[in-house]
């Protein structure tokens, strides 16, 4: 009896060819992007999205051309953080054009096309079984968007990943072996443990992990100008066996600015959080230069 591979073609579906074409389109669209950096954690609530937005702003201030891809379909925040919530993507001559922040950062976020407070609703003919197809559908949607967006030439595309160690690895796998990963943690054993799991999930993949950033590393007091501990100190806490790219304190002023689509580049340059994000951006640039 004939086997599957002895019958030429894929049964007439054309599915394999279509998927190959989408992958080709994505590669073509991303050919002019010098560095793709995925920013993940595994842990939710550690400030991945905010840091992604702030790093994009600082890199832009340093003269780089930057785009942000919000890969978190279920908790998109980059549209709000970038102040492009009400700016729709537009059809352009060379593909889909995405809105830009005040600083000129291109932002692709599902948050730009969802009503405020609305969850992403994917139509289904199989109610109650979304666990079997939902992730596949999300990746297909992401692929369709990436195959359509005309980014132009970019120095950096920062990808804001959804939480979950396995999701971190899945997205790294999806985006390809050339992308680099930065992990975000906070000074708690619980968060470090989850980030360690993400690191472990990434280990079998060829993607290079540039290092981690310790976010919420103290509280920047606007009154006295000092940085005080935000979490209890854990002298015996095990570290992560990847380079630390910097520590960024929590600053309530930045939290307020973020809600209005503004960034650290709108703050007093002498503010500690501005200096901290700038150091992290410089460290990422340096690590990328060393890697290339």
């Amino acid at each position: 009896m004939r086997s599957y591979s002895q019958i030429v073609g894929d049964g007439g579906s054309g599915v394999a060819e279509q998927i190959a074409e989408i992958e080709h389109s994505i590669a073509r669209r991303m050919a002019n992007i010098r560095h793709v950096v995925a920013i993940g954690s595994g842990k939710g609530g550690v400030g991945k999205s905010t840091l992604t937005r702030q790093l994009a702003a600082v890199l832009t201030l340093r003269g780089k051309r930057v785009g942000v891809l919000d890969a978190d379909f279920n908790g998109p925040s980059q549209a709000v953080l970038g102040g492009v919530r009400d700016l729709p993507p537009m059809p352009g001559a060379e593909g889909l054009l995405v809105p830009r922040t005040r600083e000129g950062i291109q932002v692709l976020s599902v948050g730009s096309v969802l009503a405020e407070g609305a969850a992403l609703d994917l139509p289904s003919v199989a109610p109650g079984s979304s666990h079997t197809w939902r992730a596949t559908r999300e990746f297909a949607n992401l692929a369709e968007l990436l195959a359509a967006v005309h980014w132009g030439a970019l120095d950096y595309l920062l990808v804001d990943l959804p939480p979950g160690p396995e999701r971190t690895a899945q997205f790294a796998n999806f985006l390809g072996p050339g992308i680099k990963v930065v992990l975000i943690s906070i000074p708690s054993a619980l968060a470090r443990g989850v980030v360690a799991r993400s690191l472990d999930a990434l280990r079998p993949l060829p993607n290079r992990v540039l290092g981690y950033v310790e976010n919420m590393s103290g509280y920047a007091c606007a009154g006295c100008g000092t940085v005080r501990p935000l979490f209890p100190e854990e002298p015996d806490a095990a570290g992560l066996d990847i380079p630390c790219l910097g520590r960024v304190p929590f600053d309530p002023e930045l939290a307020q600015l973020s809600d209005r689509g503004l960034a650290v580049t709108d703050m007093n340059p002498k503010n500690e959080v501005v200096a901290a994000v700038t150091r992290v951006a410089a460290a990422i640039e340096q690590r990328l230069e060393e890697a290339s």
Partner: protein
């Protein structure tokens, strides 16, 4: 997915397909050698899972489904699969944008430009473009209005 007639060792060809009930397909295959027929009936989960791959087909492929001319079988040991196109994909369609009757009109070129962007972002893009058209008193959306909309949204 491919179907093989075991007695004939021959790839079966798709003869007909229909959405027999919401979320389920009936796909009938026939053996070009002996004429044996079988039907594959999908459950909603199977249908949805294949839909979720995000593949789509255009009118040409839809036509191929409507009038299958498949079952190309060569004389060699390696044969073409039963052809015809994916019925799951046919169900997805690749819905073209419908023009609202109460909004500005679209030129075919402008509508084609809109249809070329992912379906997921199309409604908001369309709403933005039509808003710009109304703001500027345009009844017909053409390339000039698209350009004005891009400028309006900072692109």
């Amino acid at each position: 997915m491919k179907f093989l007639c075991v007695p004939c060792d021959s790839p079966m060809t798709m003869r007909a397909t229909e959405e027999s009930e919401p979320g389920s397909l009936s796909v009938i295959y026939t053996c070009p050698e002996c004429g044996y027929e079988m039907a594959m009936l999908t459950n909603p989960s199977e249908t949805q899972f294949v839909r979720s791959l995000g593949v789509r087909i255009g009118p040409a492929v839809a036509a191929a489904i409507a009038s299958p001319t498949n079952g190309v079988v060569s004389d060699g040991p390696v044969e073409q699969a039963a052809a015809g196109k994916c019925p799951f994909s046919a169900m997805i369609g690749g819905a073209a944008t419908e023009v609202a009757t109460d909004g500005p009109s679209w030129t075919p070129e402008a509508l084609a430009r809109l249809d070329a962007i992912p379906e997921m972002v199309r409604p908001m893009a369309r709403a933005g473009i039509e808003m710009v058209a109304r703001e500027n008193g345009h009844q017909l959306i053409d390339e000039a209005v698209l350009s004005a909309a891009r400028a309006r949204f900072g692109m």
